[in-house]
Symmetry: C2
């Protein structure tokens, strides 16, 4: 078992760090932060890039991530107005851990599939 030598721990339900973990323990949030890691993105680009996300879910998630200070939303006064989402400095601190998580999924998915199949037999 892990031992904890300070008060801040995601394992403690009442700790604010648990709330911060909730932010990234969401498939859509992970993908929405992962996708624009290379630079600013428009809404439609994000929707095209993140397979399976609905317009409603993308809108809600972007709003939450903007409130959390992970993304900025910039409106350019063109006709029609152009809206771009970009990672903040805080958002950029998530690139490395989320890349590691996505790379893990892309590396080990076949093992997991095999284990599930074997379990069903």
């Amino acid at each position: 078992m892990l031992q904890f030598d300070n008060e801040i721990s995601v394992l403690d339900e009442a700790c604010p760090a648990r709330q911060a973990l909730n932010l990234v323990a969401s498939k859509w949030n992970v993908l929405i932060i992962y996708a624009p890691a290379g630079g600013p993105c428009r809404f439609n680009q994000l929707q095209r890039t993140i397979g399976g996300i609905t317009q409603k879910m993308l809108t809600q998630s972007l709003r939450q991530l903007e409130q959390d200070g992970i993304l900025t939303r910039t409106v350019y006064p063109t006709i029609p107005p152009q809206v771009e989402y970009e990672l903040t400095d805080l958002g950029k601190t998530l690139i490395a851990p989320l890349n590691a998580l996505c790379n893990w999924a892309e590396t080990y998915y076949a093992d997991i599939e095999r284990n599930r199949d074997e379990f069903r037999r």
Copy 2:
């Protein structure tokens, strides 16, 4: 935007890597893999360590992680039987990325709280 030079991508809804990402894009699964990183755990130890998890959710999550090959479940023939959960070699490949994620939450939670408060004003 990220560019993709191969077919395997968590951004593709139909890709099996997306299923593997789903496994870890769950708060409870993250904590259930994070908690026993130091060695085998009993059910009650896990439930005590992971604040706020219900018995039902822990049971369901452990069963799924066992089927995915992330954890092993070992029953010792004592009276009453003792059951221990331990990370498999595949499960251990998740320790580093999930530690990074939990450390991120424990490092930046105060920034996120501040951003949320400012947004409400």
